[in-house]
């Protein structure tokens, strides 16, 4: 997914070890999201993150629908692995295990 072109405030791709497709949906103001993003960075995996609070209008709606598919309460952070497994909240152990660490 090409994330929002050049606008890094909304989200970005972080290069690293391939452990499948990993996307973290978070809020830029949320400390648990920040911790999750840091964990993924520290693990050195390839992942993408999206700060949903920085999206507007249709872009935001679209992403919320995407999150709802995996996590009906659309809470953050929601980390989706390989379009199937969703980890809701900063669950360090679960995230490590799901990524094979």
């Amino acid at each position: 997914m090409d994330l929002f072109g050049q606008n890094k405030e909304k989200g970005d791709h972080v290069s690293g070890i391939d452990r499948g497709k990993v996307i973290m949906y978070g809020l830029s103001t949320c400390v648990w999201c920040k911790k999750t993003k840091k964990l993924l960075t520290d693990l050195g995996v390839d992942f993408e993150y999206v700060f949903v609070d920085r999206l507007d209008g249709d872009e935001e709606k679209e992403v919320i629908e995407e999150v709802r598919r995996y996590n009906p309460s659309t809470s953050f952070p929601t980390t989706v692995i390989n379009d199937e497994k969703a980890i809701v909240g900063f669950k360090e152990k679960e995230i490590r295990e799901a990524l094979g660490f």
Binding site: L27, S28, T29, C30, V31, D53, I64, T74, G89, F90
Partner: protein, 182 residues
Amino acid sequence: MKEEEASEEGISEEEVDKVYRRLRDQVEKSGYHLNPDVEFTKDLVRGLLANERRYGYWSCPCRLSADNKEEDLDIICPCYYRDPDLNDYGACYCALYVSDDVIREERRVESIPERRPPKEQRDAEKAEEKKREEMMDTMEFSGELSKPVWRCKVCGYLCAMDEAPGVCPICKARKERFERFM
């Protein structure tokens, strides 16, 4: 987040410090506790200030604001879910507020489940509440109650007055966060 937030919202470290200290003093006086992890807590204060700039009110930093005060009334900090979460998990959803046992280091703070009901359920509850209020408006209180009773939805404070107070004397929540209780 510090740098990103600073660039986007123009929030200075001094402002975060000032608001953090003011909030901590106010919270301690009313018998609550902020998370003792100062850096973590200041990050949340930074998020609150960012939301104040964006939306005009202290929307919870760990929840997605609807950018509509009426819809977000339940997640304006302190949110309606703080006290039950403090009881069940020792921290509010963001972990800005923690319970006594966390302060005594008998319990650890972690990421907790979201208690806020989904939008459809919140809308249904709001409609119920409105119906109840309308019903009570038409009831003849003079025989039983000399005044209507108002409840602060943040801290549970009750008062019997013609109108809810402008600011809750206990938790300082504003008038719009009161409901007609009796």
